[in-house]
């Protein structure tokens, strides 16, 4: 888990800023913007994945040498990020 969180650290700031922007928009405009915000969150996560795969691809060898494939890293961090996002929405609404 520690290794997964280390990988998550490489994009947690960008992802958190996006989450905060979405939560702020939802708290101001209500649940009617929820589908758009969910879509926005997914699209930006996709952009983050592309960015990391392109600009931090060398670091994947660190994790792969520790036995964590690229797919494993993305499944877990994507999952953690989305679960956090949904939990925070529940808190806001």
């Amino acid at each position: 888990m520690k290794i997964i969180l280390t990988f998550y650290r490489s994009f947690v700031v960008a992802s958190s800023l996006i989450t905060i922007a979405c939560l702020t928009t939802i708290s101001i405009n209500g649940l009617k913007v929820l589908p758009v915000m969910l879509l926005f969150k997914l699209v930006t996560l996709g952009i983050i994945i592309l960015y990391i795969n392109l600009y931090k691809k060398k670091e994947f060898y660190y994790y792969q040498n520790l036995g964590f494939s690229k797919l494993t890293l993305w499944i877990f961090t994507f999952g953690i990020d989305l679960i956090l996002f949904v939990l925070l929405i529940a808190v806001v609404i």
């Binding site: 060398k58 520790l66 036995g67």
Partner: protein
Amino acid sequence: MEVDSVILEFGSKRVLHDIYVKCETNRITGLLGRNGTGKSCLLNIMFGTLKPLNGMVRINNEALLDSARKSADLMYLPQFGYIPKFLTLKRIFKDFKLDFFAFTNEFPEFKKHYHSRIGRLSGGERRIVEIYLIIVSATKFCLLDEPFSHVMPLHIDRIKDLIKREKKIKGIIVTDHLYEHIIDLCDEIYVIKDGETHLIKRVEEIESLGYAKITSKNGDV
């Protein structure tokens, strides 16, 4: 470990097509070849990070069918820095389950860096850490891509000693353009030329295969 039947193409260019490399525990296998002949690609295929059109990697006659590799089977030193710069040496050695103080016995100049982020070290110092992690970690096979390049001569000797020590319990495949070290270190050497591997029997063949002019050493590999 064996790799064979590899076919690798980039667009219409066929890079590798008649490949056979074998590496055994307690052996050091060298890979030589001109730039662009596919040495790093071949190591990436072994490590599972590059998918060829065709090819088979086997460990103890067991085929590794998917791209996932267990760290207990294989570790790979790429020719570039691979450690996230924000990690401290303390954390890195913990991740790789290695004793930092055993490392400083080999490289005492790193004692002061225990709590330093690796990004704070010089390029040469970073490379030493990267090389050490892969050579010394608990794994059956090490793939080393240019471990001697950009490393000062004194450290090259220490790295060679480490490789010689670790080969007793693992198989090591190494490639580097500092071919004199490869000749000195390896039990067998393959030269990649025109997409094919040539297992050489005599050092002079390195020259006849068009890789380098051998002036300093002649004889059997």
